[in-house]
C-alpha cells in the first residue's frame, strides 16, 4: 500500500466519522435504526411513527447554557 493510499484511507475514515457524527446529532441514524427495528421503509407514515416514538425522550433532552 502506497503512502497516498494510506492517506486516502485515513481521509475516508475521518469523513466517515464526521458523517456518522452528523447522522447521530441530526437523528438520521436514529431514524434508520427505527426503520430497521420495525422492518419499515422510509415514508411519511414511518417518519410520523418515529417522531411519535421519540417525542417523549426528545422533549426531555437538556441543552446546556
Amino acid at each position: 500500500m502506497t503512502n497516498a493510499d494510506i492517506f486516502t484511507n485515513q481521509v475516508r475514515r475521518v469523513l466517515g466519522i464526521v458523517r456518522a457524527t452528523l447522522g447521530e446529532i441530526f437523528e438520521e441514524s436514529a431514524y434508520a435504526r427505527f426503520l430497521d427495528r420495525h422492518g419499515l421503509t422510509s415514508s411519511r407514515e414511518a417518519y410520523a411513527l418515529f417522531l411519535r416514538e421519540s417525542e417523549a425522550s426528545r422533549g426531555r433532552r437538556v441543552r446546556c447554557c
Binding site: E24, F26, R44, S57, R60, R63, C65
Partner: protein, 681 residues
Amino acid sequence: MSKPVGAVVWVALAAAGALSLATIAIHRGEPLSAMWLVVAAICSYALGYRFYSKFIAAKVLALDSLRATPAERLENGRDFVRTNKWVVFGHHFAAIAGPGPLVGPVLAAQFGYLPGTLWILVGAVFGGCVQDFVILLFSVRRDGKSLTEMAKDEIGRVGGFVAYVAVISIIVILLGVCALIVVNALKASPWGTFTIAMTIPIALLMGVYLRGLRPGKVLESSILGFALVLLAIWGGQWVSQSPTIGRYFTLTAPTLAILIILYGFAASALPVWLLLAPRDYLSTFVKLGTIAMLALGIVALRPTLHMPPLTRFIDGTGPVFAGNVFPFAFITIACGAISGFHSLISSGTTPKLISRETETRMVGYGAMLAESMVAIMATIAACVLQPGTYFAINSPAGIVGQTPEAAAGVISGWGFPVTAMDMHGLAQAVGEQTLFNRTGGAPAFAVGMAHIFSHSIGGQALMAIWYHFAIMFEALFILTVLDAGTRVGRFMLQDALGHVWKPLGRTSWYPSILSTSALIVLAWGYFLWQGVKDPLGGINSLWPLFGIANQSLAIVALCVATTIIVKMGRARYAAVTLTPLTWLAAVTFTASYHKIFDPNPRVGFLAHAQQLAAGPNAPTTARLIFNDRLDAMVTGVLIVLVGVIVLESALGWARVLSGRAEARVREAPFVTTRFATEEQG
C-alpha cells in the same frame, strides 16, 4: 512514538505552555497577541488530558474496558445504543456547548483578560472536565441514571430533593437570563429582530419539510434552513433601511420580552417535531460551523488583544456587574470552566450511548476541554475590542449616563478613551442605530467576532453582515435553550405534580401541558421582566444569580461524585473531586453572602432595596424593592439547600471512613462485555 521521543515532546509542550502562561500573566503595556492564549490553552488541555485524566481513569475510577456498558446490556436501538466514541464525543459536545461559554467570558473581560483566562484553563482542567468525566462514568455504571436519582441513591433522600430543587431553579433562572440577553441584543434593532423572527417560520417550514416532503432527511433540511437564515440576514439589512417595514421590527425591550414569553409558551406546548426539533437541528448546524469558523479565524489572523490583563475593576466597581474579582469572576464564567448544568447531560443521553467504559474519558473530559476552548475564543473576541468600545457596549445607561456624550465622557474618565463619534461610526458599520447600553455580552461578542471575520472575508464592507450573523448565531442558541429548557422544566414539574394528583403527571394531557408550561414560562418570564425593567440593565443582578445557581448544581454533582469515590474505597484519591468542590463552595458561598448582605447597593440585594426605600418614591419603587428581596430570598434558599447537601454528604463520608456505615455503592452488577475477546485481542 518511542518513549524518549514522547518524553521530549511532552516536556516541550509543558515548556511552551509554561512560557505562554507566564507571558499572559506578566505581560504589561503593549497589546498582546491572542496566540499566547491559544498556545497556553492547547498546551494546558493536552497535558491535562494526557496526564491528569489518565491518572483519574486509572487510579481513581479504575475504568474497565471488559465491563459491559448499559448501551450494550440494555441496547434497544432507541435510547441505549452502542455508538462510535467520536460520534458520542460530537453528540455530547453539541449538547454541552451553548451560549454560556460565549457570554460569561465576555462579561468577565471587564476585569481584563487575565482572571478569566486563568480561571477557564485551571477551572476546566481540574474542575469542569473532572466533573463531566466522573459523573458520566458513574451514570454509565448505574444504567444511565440521572444526577437527581444518583443523589437520592448515594447521598440520601434530602440529597435527591436538593438536587431536584437546584435543577429546576437553575433552569428557571437560566431561561430568564438567556431571554434577557436576547432582548438586550435585539432592542431597537430591526435588522436583528427581523432575522431572529424569521428563524421561527424557517424552523416550522423545516418541520413540515421533514415530516411531509423528505421524511428523515434532517441534514438536508438543516442545510436548507441555514440557507434561508442567511437569506434572512441579508434581507434584514433591507428591512432595517425601510421606513415602513423597519418600524414593525424596531421594538422596545418590554415588547420583545412579552413576545419571547409568548414564544416560550408556544414552543413548550407545540408538538416537538413542529418547532423544537427543527430549531434544535438548525441551531446545532450553525453552532458547529460557526465555532469551527471562529477558531480558524483566530488562528489565521492572530488578532491582538487591546484589553489590559487587569483593569481597575478588579476592585469590584465594574460597570458590567459589580463585585470583586474574587468571587465574582468565578461565578460569572461557569460554562467554559465548570458548569453544573453539564452534569445533567453527562447523566442524560450520553451515558446511554457509550460503548466501553474507557471511552468516558475522551467523551466526558475531552468534550469539556473543547467547550473550554470555545470560552477562550470568546475571551479573545471580547478583548480584541478597544477597552473603551467594550465598556461603551456593556455599560448600562444607569451607570454611564443616558446620552452618548455622557457615556463616552464617563468611560474615557475611567482611562478607556472612547468618543460618541467613534461609537456612532461603529454602530453604522454594523448596521445598528446605537451600540451604547447593549448589556448582556452578546452584542460585544458579536462586534468582536465581526471584527475578526471582517479582517479575513469582505473587509469593512461585510462588517454589518458578520455582526448580524453573530447575533443570529447567539440568539438561535439561546432560543433553542429556551425551547428545550421550558419543556424540560415542564416535564419535571409534571413529574412532581403527578405525585400530588395523578392526571397532572400525564405528559399527554393538554390541561396539564398548558398549566405546567404556563407556570414555568411565568417563572422565568418574571425574572426576564425584572431584568428588562431594571435601570442597571438586569445583567448586573441576574447573571450572578445564574452563576450561583449553576455553580450550586456543580457542588451537588461533586458531592455525589465524592460520595461515590469514598464508598468505592478510594478516599485517598477523593481530592480529585473534593478540591474543585471546596473551591466552588468557597466561591459560591462567598458570592451568595455578598449578593445578599453586601452593604454596597450595587452588589447586595438587600442594601439596594434599602437604598430604594430611602430614596424618592417613584411608581416602580415598590416593585424594584420586591424584586431585590425576591432575588435575595432565591439566593438564600439555594445556598441553604446546597449547604444541607454538603453537610449530609460530609457526614456520610465521615460515617463510611470511620466504619460506622457500610461502604456500598449502588452500581449495576458487573457483566463482562460480549466484546471481551475483541478488547483483549
